[in-house]
Symmetry: D2
Amino acid sequence: MIKTEIGYTKVDAIVVREMDLAKDIIGRFDFVEMLLLTTVGRKPTPQEKNMINALLVVSLDHGLTPSALSARLTYLGAPEALQGAVAAGLLGAGSVFLGTTQNAAEMLIEAGAELPEDADDDEVASAARALVERMRAARKPIYGLGHNIHVSGDPRVNALRELSRENGFYGRHWRLMDAIGTAMQEKLGRALPMNAVAASASMIADLGLDPLLGRGIVMTGRCAGLVGHVLEERESPIALQLWDLVLDQDPRNERPQRTSR
Amino acid sequence: MIKTEIGYTKVDAIVVREMDLAKDIIGRFDFVEMLLLTTVGRKPTPQEKNMINALLVVSLDHGLTPSALSARLTYLGAPEALQGAVAAGLLGAGSVFLGTTQNAAEMLIEAGAELPEDADDDEVASAARALVERMRAARKPIYGLGHNIHVSGDPRVNALRELSRENGFYGRHWRLMDAIGTAMQEKLGRALPMNAVAASASMIADLGLDPLLGRGIVMTGRCAGLVGHVLEERESPIALQLWDLVLDQDPRNERPQRTSR
Amino acid sequence: MIKTEIGYTKVDAIVVREMDLAKDIIGRFDFVEMLLLTTVGRKPTPQEKNMINALLVVSLDHGLTPSALSARLTYLGAPEALQGAVAAGLLGAGSVFLGTTQNAAEMLIEAGAELPEDADDDEVASAARALVERMRAARKPIYGLGHNIHVSGDPRVNALRELSRENGFYGRHWRLMDAIGTAMQEKLGRALPMNAVAASASMIADLGLDPLLGRGIVMTGRCAGLVGHVLEERESPIALQLWDLVLDQDPRNERPQRTSR
Amino acid sequence: MIKTEIGYTKVDAIVVREMDLAKDIIGRFDFVEMLLLTTVGRKPTPQEKNMINALLVVSLDHGLTPSALSARLTYLGAPEALQGAVAAGLLGAGSVFLGTTQNAAEMLIEAGAELPEDADDDEVASAARALVERMRAARKPIYGLGHNIHVSGDPRVNALRELSRENGFYGRHWRLMDAIGTAMQEKLGRALPMNAVAASASMIADLGLDPLLGRGIVMTGRCAGLVGHVLEERESPIALQLWDLVLDQDPRNERPQRTSR
């Protein structure tokens, strides 16, 4: 039968996960609670909420990332369609940026499957080393290490680790990820610092969330960030300047002097 | 100069709205606070947070809307790209569904521009009647009225009005929207109930938010809802059944009996 | 009933516009013929084919336009999903770029509705002047004039006008568009040259095509162009350099020296 | 340096692959020639043109596929943005539908790498059997076999094979694909007929095209097909009926009787 367990609609009520949206949810559930209710069917604990909020906050994005640039360039051509600009930005959340959170979480869950929650440090280190060997032998990527700007350590990682500890979610996946960093350092002879993807993936895995949901959460955070970029683009546009900047890189392109826009 | 006021990146820090993401934001800002910080440059008050949470909660979506169906049909063809399925769902948030929240908020802000915050009921009713006349004369749509299922009243509207009152945001735009409903009823001789778009737009206008940001907020809520639908689609797929259902509508289509999938 | 007139599927045949795809279409219809068959239900004449080919060729795109940049930036983050990169590029085809072909064609069709096909030059000039007055009075845009690079004339316009003449499609909409250029020049006291949008719109209108189909044709051309950009991006990537270039514009951003990638 | 080899722009000329767009291309290149010029840098031969036209024609789409449904559902919510509806349709062209043409072509190119162009039938059959064994051992999918409707043979395959023969492109990849079908039949003890993906992939491989370009070509064909669906949706809408049809599947959903729309 074609149906969804998320909800249904009566003439005088909307039902979400068997609760009445108007009577029992609006004003009683905040967004993070609603997100978990919708996707998983239950309210998060206060600690889980802190964790999910941090995942959303950290992925929201700042700065002119490729995703933000794509949204702004799209808005330049189609300012009537905010949804198009946001969609264009989200479409970059794939196997290289952001979407890779899912892969990293899957890697940790698989590698940690045999590891008891109370494993000692040696067991964790050994599982990490085994993973590194296995991935390198299979020429597969090890997710979550290295950053093109934060070359001596991604500042978000420590903050997220601390937050996870405080909320009781520094578990075996976080420990494994930390140990993977150490194992790779031994292997390479130099530090390859953990990045925010590693931290987000560890949080998702230690929360026991489905990695696909984890990816969806960071994508939702990014959605809000892209809205911010489009809003700014409308007030202080840069997309046209960016286009000029690109054209000017190739001397074969000619461009008349503009006295004004 | 090409830059954004949202944030920038140093080798050892990420700065968002002049705050240090790792030190001052992670663990201290929840998602709604971060959303407002990023887009508007300040933290919301607790009352504003309640309002924005309700906007996100109400737009998150339930049930098999066109937007959810589009996401699920897209996931069927490209399960490797969650971002594509979510983007496909968001692309329907235009002038008919969801995106229309922006138009409704703009309508209210424009019509309420001359109305003092302490206008009495007669003044509000008169502004509403004037708007109805103006829109009808110009053959322009009046946003926020009518619903294809909740024909005798959208249950979300009362809940959102109540919440707005409790948080001190039942202001002149809400009153105007309510009066527009009354004015249209007088005009048409039958009730055309307010829908969730009307409520969301009133909230956005009374919060003093930019309508484009308001549209972005409801789109962010929807993003989370679409993630929920894709997650369910992976576990309990319906897209293929939906396709069969469609093909079977036209007797010219032939389809062999399937014994199993 | 839910069905499409475009086609249906039998166990041993696919039927498109009542023709057998395998027997009557493959190898007998080229792409432009199939495009018209599918959308309009008939084969184009050779002259119409020349015109539609030119619309496709001219919109295919060259150079690093915002649309191409958006596709490349998206590919950087999600190289596994060509469809996402192409979609991101297409999403910029809105009211400012490319999509505006539809608006321009609608403008010409509306303004030319009263004009007989054999109108003399004075009648055409007078309809053009009336349009210019009407649009300026209503503060509406006049589509198809001006170009940020080809300030003294878009080289595509003459070629497309010539082609239209040769194929018998330099009709009243082309003449009207040319006269609008002249009327605006009189008004402004300086030339505001016609751009490719004006030419494409004139061609669509003189072909008698639905403006929405016209927009769809130029979008299809652009789709092929975006494929070319993604293909080149895979071999000779520039998106990462573009990101660096942008970050370097704002001195607040720090970036370590990269010795290699 | 940030630049593209596809083209650049001078104040009075547009240069594509070192040719003058206005003087040398418009009116002289049709769409397929322009597509190959842009992506590969040269004009196709007449035989190659026939093949590429067939790839475009066959992927253009007919009927209410998930991709067409997604475009129509998106258009329902955002009729102002054709680009969004088309993008939503394209986003389903992934690893299951259409995009898989790339995977199938890659499979054939890899498996055929050691096979001389004049290999005899035994050599081809043996390479096919080796591929089937290798893929099954690695639990990887064998692309291009089976169809949910055309259970006793996809009618497009024979037509495309015939066309390829006529144009001199029935080469070792086509032969390998045919032999893979036979090898699978031996293995399974029942026929698993080749589908259009197999035929398209064979054509791409025997044309010597990059599989990513091949995928881009079929996506371009689909783009035109989606335009046709949106055009029809505007005139004879079905998306709202489809929504109702879905809601009616789940008896928990209530829906008032509609007297009219």
